[in-house]
Each structure stands twice: as C-alpha cells, then as structure tokens.
C-alpha cells in the first residue's frame, strides 16, 4: 500500500530529489519511495507509476510529494521517512556551505540584479517550465542553454526564431554539453585551450570529440551544443547556422569540427552550403550518413568520431604551423622526395587537394606535374644513373633544391627525410644547409616555405628527434605525416578567405551565467571562475496559474 505525506513550500531540483528517492528507498520495511515536486507533470507520473495518493491532489509545484510503497499498514512509517527526508535535505543544505559564497537568487529579477552582465542562462528546470524561462532570458538579451528536455518542437522553433532575430543563440532543448570561452556548461570536459571550435547536436559527441582532440595533442576554443532536434526539418538547423557563424567570426577557432546524427536532407544541404561560405577548414561528421566525397572544398567529411577528431587535430596543427610561416610569394609547390612511395602518396594527396591529375607515366621520376606544381621521386632511375640513391648521397637532391633559387614562382618546397640503417649519417644537416643557401640566394623578397616529414624512429642511429630539431632550427616545418604536410602546403598557397568580417560574437569573449535548476552546474562554473548566479527557480505563485495571471496584470 501507499503511505504519503507532503512537505510544503520546500523547492528542490529534481536530481537532488531523485538521489534522495534512491537513498530513502533503502530504508527498512520499505519497498520503494518516490520523492517529487508536486508539478502537474510529476503528479501524473506518480499516478502512472502507481505511487498516487489522494493527499497529492492538494500539492503545489512548491511542495515535495513523498509516496512510500510498503507492505506495512503502520502509519508511523511516514514520520520515520519524514525525518529521513529532513536529514537528507539538511545534508544538501550543509553540503552547500563552505567554499566561496555562491551568489543565489530566487527570482529572475534578482538574478539579473546580482549579475547585470549575464549573457547566458543555463536552464535545467522541469521541461514544462523551461520554455517560459528561456523566453524570458531571450527577452532580456541573454543567450540560452537548455539542458531541460520535454520542450515541444513548436516552443523550440519559436525560441530559436526569436533568438536569431536578436542575434542570440539557443542551445538545446536537451543540450547536455557546451564549453564556451572556458565556461563548462552542464556535462563538459576540461580540455586544453586550442584552435578547434566544436559544434555538436549531441552531448556525448562533443565530449568524445573533445577528449579525442586532447589525446591527439590539440585543444579546443569553444564547444557549442545544439540539442538533438536542431537539424530536424521542423527546426531547420537554426542554431547550427548561428553556431557556425559565431565560430567563423572567432579568430581563435581556426578549425571547426561539426558532429551530428544525419540531418534532414534539406537541412544538411543548407548546413553544407553555410559551411562552404565560411572559408575555414571544417571537419563534418554526419554520423551514419555516407558522404559522397571525402573532401568538398573546405569541408572534410569524417565517418567516425575518432576520425573526425584526428582530422580536426591534424588541421589544427596545420593552422598552427601555417601561422609561423611568412606569406609565400610563389604559388607553386615543388616536392623533392628521396622515397618513391612517399613521393607517390604526396602526389596523390596533392592532386586530390588541387583537383588535378597525378602523373601516371612517372617520366624522369615525375609523380605530379600539373599547373606548375611538381612532385619528383629523386630515387628514380633517371637521377641515380651513376650516382648513389639520395638516401645515401644527398647531392642530386641538393642540386635540385639549389635550382629553386631561380624559380621564384615556387613558394613551397616539400621534402622527406628518411633515416635508419643504411641512410646518411645526418641527412637533416645537409638539407638544412642547402635550404639556408637557397633561401639566401632567393633573397628576402622571395621567401621559400619548406615542409618536411621524417621517416624513422627515435631508436634509429640518427635519432628522429635530433633530425627534427636540426630541421626546425633551419626554419623547416616538420609535419607528423604526409597528409599534414600536403595540407600545410596547399594551405600556404591558398589566399586567406575573405568575407568573414563579422565582429567577434560577444558571447565568445566570456560568459556570465544565470544558472536555473541544478545547483551543481553553478558550482562547476564557479570553480572555473566564471561569474555565475544560481537562480533557485520555482514556478510563479507556486504554480497557481490563477494567481500568476493576476500578478501579471497587477502592475
């Protein structure tokens, strides 16, 4: 049978109450206990789950409803559980003491007053009230992250449309994760600062991307959540487009990573069109959707989260290396490779990027020769007649490099350094010297960007790290892999994108958050030194609609 009691006028968030329900359910002589605020939705849930008690009909959304399922007919169980509930609530209150004093407010007005610069409202209150609060936030010029779910699609469209018209963004409903300007919102990971901006419909997608990007040695600028329904036909990706534009205008987000489940086709096209207009390199993952191409302009399509993360990390590294290079004057790429297979892969990758054909005849070691770009296999028979292989004797390749002094149209030189048994004692040294000479001969007016990869291990006699250090010292960009090297080379000859002249979105400069709902979210923000006020939300007039309407008119 069900025993029940109501604790009047004591608002608690639902997660705290769920934890308390679980704890109290372990009490002796009890089958199960349900502890909920008396909102209309919760009341019907109590009914459906077999916890209903007639007492609850008088409960308001400000009252805690406690239903005890037990075999015992003894009424004293309510007293016993009542005492346990009080103890649990007290424990929460005490847990909230100590440490830096968290700013708290019980009304929207007071929350605004305590944090006038607030620009974000994090909402984790019951879904039936979430839209109303989000609307209030937008009305007052705040962006919104709705952790809450059970918000109707009509409400979502209305809120997002309103946000767009005010230059704001609504993340969610059902948006679990965001991390903007170092402010962890709801479920968020601590990632190093970096230049990858993440946009994700799903919470765990953003979390996995963030964590894989970190594993790959890169960091993130911002992570913007959208909620699971943003890319549906009904919502049309309103927030996705806002997020893309925000990050496009953000100088710290040099690479964008976008993850979602497959969107409605029309929405997908709209999103891709938007992505193309941004100019920045973007890794897009529409989970489960087969991409017709791997690359479409500035968009690279990934098939899995880890692939998306690796691609984003690679592009991030390319951006970092590109930033260290002077602007190239010649727009042609020349690749002089000691390794044949390396030359072949380089040619293939570059042909893909530039949209040209690789050279299939391989005349005189030419692996690619198109529009002035050339990739040569210096180990081809043409170059090794009567001469040792360039892995043993660098002189032929060095002569080729020296000739670049007379080819100012070549702005980027791609090289490989192959070490190990059998190879030269110190190939990096002779390359570094040659590069220095050719740069001197070209003069300051004709800079030459040199990009190298190193094939070999730390245990090899030449020692990988030493070789890299020698190259780096000579101003040669050492990349981790050929795809990276090729991506950097093509990046350097591509003129910087134009058109992104939007001002930096103020939101990305720093968050000040009003947190409505789960207290722990506010604590996390405070720990990260983000200005936050915890709005202990409760329905107006305890959910009494009649009084709420009167108050609205009593001005």
């Amino acid at each position: 049978m069900i025993h029940a009691f109501i604790k009047k006028g004591s608002f608690q968030d639902s997660v705290s109450l769920m934890l308390i329900s679980r704890k109290l359910s372990d009490s002796p002589n009890v089958e199960e206990i349900s502890v909920m605020m008396g909102t209309p939705a919760n009341k019907s849930l109590l009914e459906v789950t077999g916890f209903w008690h007639p007492q609850f009909s008088s409960a308001t959304p400000n009252d805690i409803c406690v239903a005890i399922k037990t075999d015992s007919a003894n009424d004293s169980i309510t007293e016993q559980i009542g005492a346990a509930l009080d103890a649990a609530l007290k424990a929460i209150a005490q847990g909230q003491q100590g440490g830096k004093h968290l700013l708290k407010a019980r009304s929207w007005r007071m929350a605004r007053q305590k944090l006038p610069q607030a620009n974000m409202v994090l909402i984790s209150i019951a879904g039936e009230y979430a839209a109303g609060l989000a609307d209030q936030a937008l009305e007052d010029g705040c962006n919104v992250m709705m952790f809450s779910d059970n918000v109707s699609v009509e409400q979502e469209v209305a809120l997002k449309t309103k946000a767009r018209s005010k230059g704001l963004i609504v993340m969610g409903p059902d948006c679990g994760t965001a991390n903007i300007a170092g402010a962890p919102m709801a479920f968020a990971n601590i990632a190093p600062k970096g230049n990858i901006g993440i946009i994700g419909a799903s919470g765990t997608g953003i979390q996995e991307l963030t964590s894989q990007v970190t594993l790959a040695g890169q960091g993130i600028s911002h992570a913007i959540g959208l909620g699971g329904r943003d890319l549906s036909a009904e919502v049309g990706g309103i927030s996705a487009i806002s997020a893309l534009r925000m990050l496009a205008a953000d100088p710290h987000s040099q690479v964008l990573a976008f993850v979602s489940k497959p969107p409605a086709e029309a929405v997908r096209q709209r999103i891709i069109e938007e992505m193309k207009s941004l100019g920045k390199p973007i890794v897009a993952l529409f989970l489960g959707a087969k991409a017709p191409f791997k690359q479409d302009g500035n968009i690279t399509f990934a098939a899995t989260l880890d692939e998306a993360a690796r691609l984003a990390a690679m592009l991030a590294h390319v951006q970092q290396m590109a930033a260290q290079q002077p602007a190239v004057c010649g727009s042609k790429i020349s690749g002089l490779y000691a390794g044949g297979t390396l030359a072949a892969e380089c040619a293939m990758l570059l042909a893909d990027r530039l949209g040209v054909e690789a050279d299939s005849t391989h005349q005189q070691g030419s692996m690619l020769n198109a529009e002035g770009h050339r990739i040569i296999d210096m180990g081809d028979d043409f170059y090794t007649q009567g001469k040792p292989h360039p892995m043993i004797d660098p002189s032929t390749r060095n002569q080729e490099i020296a000739r670049l002094a007379q080819q100012p149209e070549v702005g980027v030189l791609l090289l490989d350094v192959v070490i190990g048994y059998g190879a030269q004692e110190d190939p990096a040294r002779s390359l570094a010297d040659t590069v220095k000479r050719v740069r001197a001969n070209r003069g300051a007016a004709h800079p030459l960007a040199v990009i190298a990869t190193v094939t070999g291990t730390e245990q090899d006699p030449q020692q990988r790290s030493k070789q890299i250090a020698t190259l780096a010292e000579a101003g040669i960009s050492v990349m981790n892999s050929l795809p990276e090297a090729v991506a950097l080379a093509s990046q350097l000859i591509t003129p910087p994108p134009v058109g992104i002249t939007d001002p930096i979105p103020p939101l990305l400069a720093g968050l000040s958050v009003i947190n409505a709902g789960l207290r722990s979210f506010a604590d996390d923000l405070q720990t990260n030194e983000i200005p936050v006020v915890h709005y202990q939300w409760a329905p107006v007039a305890g959910g009494n609609q009649r009084l709420a309407n009167i108050l609205k008119n009593l001005k």
């Binding site: 209150a93 003491q97 007071m110 009084l547 709420a548 009167i550 009593l554």
Partner: protein
C-alpha cells in the same frame, strides 16, 4: 490617484522613508487612546480574535490585565469576566498601537508616545518589562503585578519628566542608524540601541528633582533591560508604516501581526481590511527544560519590525543572533536569509546601512506581489512563549509568515481593481 501599482508603491515607500518618528513622552493608555478611556476594554496583538480563540499566553496576559486594572481580585474572577464576554477586545493596530507578544494593553498601563514629526501621526506601545516571568509572555503572578505597578507609578513618571527635557523628544532614527552598525536588528536584539538610548537618558535622569533611590531603580532597570528599545522600535515602525498606509493604494504590506491563532496582514491598497491565515509556530532555541512541543503558536505585533524591513529581514546585521537561524546557522545562513528577504522588498533603506552586508541598506517596502510570486514568506525573528498561560518565555527563534494571507490580499486587490485572472 496613482496611475499604476508601481507609482502607488513608490509613494508609500517615499512616506515610510520620510517618516521621522521621535519618542516624545510616556502616558497612560487611557489618556492616549480614546477607546480605552471608558469601560472594560483590552488591546491585543494581531488581527481581531475572541477570548475563546486566544492561546494560553494571551489568556494569561488578559488575566493579568484584569488583575492590574482591579476588575478582578483573583484569577478565577478574572476568568469569569473573560468567559462571560464582559471584556471588549480591540486589536492594538486599530488604535495606532502595537503590543509585543500577547500585546495585552489596558487603560492604566503606560505607553511610549512616538510622533512622526514629518507627517504628524502618532504610534503607541507599552514598555518592555524585561525578561523571565512577564505579562507579554502570559505570566500574571504577584511579581508581574508588582512590576507593572512600579512601571506605572515610578518608571513612567520619571521617563515623562526626562523626555520633557528634550525638544521634540528623542530622534529614534539616529539611534537606530548607529545601533544597526553595532549588531542590532531591532527584533531579536536591541542591546546596542537600548544602550545608546540610555546614554542619552542617564544624564538627564540624574538631574531630576526626585528621590535618588527611585532614580537609581529606574536607571538600574533601564541598564539591564536589553530589549527596552524593542517596544520603541515597534512604535517607530508602526508610525512609519501608518504614514505609508495613508496612500491607500498599492501592494506594500503595512501590517504583519499574529494573535496565536491567525497571522494577519494589511496592504496599502486595501486600507484597514485584515487578511488572515493560520499562524505558524516558531522554531528555535529553548531555555533548558523546554522544547518545541511546549511552544505556543506565533503571537505579537512585533512583526511590525519585519513589515518595516528590519528584524528577520536584517538578520545579516546581527551576528549575535545568527544562531537562531536553525541549527546549522552562522553568518552565511544569516546572509542567505537577508538575501532571500531582499527578493520580496522593493527598495533599500539607506538610513539603516548594514556593515556586514557591505553597507547595503536594510530592506524597505515589502511587496505582497513578490511574496506571492516567489513563495518567499517573510521570516520573523521572535520570542517563543509557552503554550500554557502563566509560564512565560521559553525560548527564541524564527517563524515564517503564512503565504495564504498574502494570496488573499492580492486576490482582494485584484477584485477591487477589476483585474481578472
């Protein structure tokens, strides 16, 4: 007529702010309140209440008053009068007065006379009897009677003489502005204000042409009665709130009070109409030998201090009483209380700046709308009486005003203004 509730409320608050209540004199109730001049009438705290509904300590105080007025010579006689309906009851608030706890006030009890010099209105309150077995907590034994007689025959005349030496009386605002920086919130704690008051009175008392022993007794009484200022603070607040109530529009709460059965409020827009809801029982710390089960439901007009914005709302000002805020109380709990209260008051009173609140002013302008909107009910610092007559004070703590009376007031005002839900 004001065009909006906002404007009306602003006008109410402006008058509360402008009010300058001064303590002018002391006189017998019958000389101040015409209703008490004739017949057997008693003032009581809270909204109207009949003898049959009165709680133990209030009944005890009624018996005490009957004995004091010599309408009866024994407890039994007094009870018979009261049971037979031969005593008429009037709420203090209806006659410009306030009374602590039971608030029982009779014709020959001396009252402090507070005049609001700005608006010209008066407010009255009896004088604090000290602690222990006292009438306001329902005790009525011979020692209580003896003290009441001394207050009438000796304390009141001395104070009257002393106050006559002050032009316009004593400026209570000036004392309160200092005392709040010294840790008083003027409900649970008045020791600083009482001492500051004594500092003004003592030299003048010593100069009176009266029996030296009598003067020493008065000085001794004032020097040990920590809550002496409470009754002045209550009349101060009553004078200020009555000045505000004259606007007769808006949603500012002008009275909050309790009679042991009901909690009653008035709001500026509904004139003298009472709105009531069942009163809560205070929780707090008890003198040894007593516990929560002994506690009487909340009584007294002293919640006029919270109506004005001090007392519980100014808890943060009084580190000395923060322990009354529940067992885990401390400075941060006190801050939380005042921060919470700030949600339901419209403005701040910069005459009462609170150092422990970063010199923010005390709350001002309790808005019934905000109470209903947020469900935050005023927290009242209060003494706790034993539920049986004759025992007196058993502890002190806090109690919440019930939400229901604020909801009723808002509903009534909406109806009056023709606002539909």
């Amino acid at each position: 007529m004001y065009a909006s509730i906002e404007q009306a409320n602003a006008a109410v608050i402006a008058r509360i702010r402008e009010a300058r209540p001064h303590w002018q004199t002391v006189d017998l109730a019958k000389n101040l309140i015409p209703q008490l001049a004739q017949g057997r009438k008693l003032l009581h705290a809270g909204p109207p209440v009949a003898w049959q509904e009165m709680s133990g300590p209030v009944r005890g105080a009624c018996i005490g008053a009957c004995l004091f007025e010599q309408w009866a010579s024994s407890e039994q006689q007094a009870l018979a009068l009261l049971e037979n309906g031969e005593i008429e009851f009037i709420p203090c608030h209806n006659v410009s007065a306030v009374g602590p706890m039971g608030g029982i006030t009779s014709a020959n009890m001396p009252l402090v006379v507070i005049k609001n010099l700005v608006h010209g209105n008066y407010a009255y309150c009896n004088m604090n009897e000290g602690i222990g077995k006292v009438m306001r907590f329902g005790a009525y034994g011979p020692d209580v009677q003896a003290r009441l007689c001394w207050m009438r025959d000796s304390l009141a005349p001395v104070l009257k003489d002393v106050l006559a030496t002050f032009v316009d009386g004593i400026d209570l605002t000036a004392i309160m502005a200092q005392a709040i920086t010294m840790g008083d919130e003027f409900h649970q704690r008045n020791i600083a204000a009482s001492a500051l008051l004594m500092r003004q009175l003592a030299p003048e008392i010593s100069l009176l042409e009266r029996d030296k022993i009598e003067l020493v007794k008065v000085m001794q009484f004032l020097s040990i009665t920590d809550q002496f200022f409470l009754n002045l603070a209550m009349a101060y607040c009553k004078a200020a709130m009555d000045a505000g109530a004259e606007i007769k529009q808006g949603t500012i709460v002008t009275v909050m009070t309790r009679n042991g059965k009901n909690f009653g409020i008035k709001i500026s827009g509904m004139g003298d109409k009472w709105f009531t809801a069942p009163v809560n029982t205070p929780e707090g710390l008890f003198f040894s030998g007593f516990n929560q089960a002994d506690a009487n439901p909340d009584i007294g007009d002293s919640a006029i201090t919270e109506t004005f914005g001090i007392g519980g709302a100014a808890m943060v000002a009084a580190p000395g009483v923060t322990r009354f805020v529940g067992a885990a109380g401390g400075m941060s709990a006190a801050t939380d209380i005042s921060e919470e209260m700030a949600e339901i008051y419209l403005e701040r009173n910069m005459m009462l700046q609170i150092p422990t609140w970063d010199f923010q002013g005390a709350c001002l302008g309790l808005d019934a709308r905000r109470v209903v909107e947020t469900g935050i009910t005023p927290l009242i610092n209060t003494g706790i009486a034993h539920r049986e007559a004759g025992i007196g004070q058993i502890g002190a703590g806090t109690v919440r005003a019930p939400l229901g009376c604020f909801e009723k007031a808002i509903e009534a005002l909406a109806e009056k203004l023709g606002i539909s839900a």
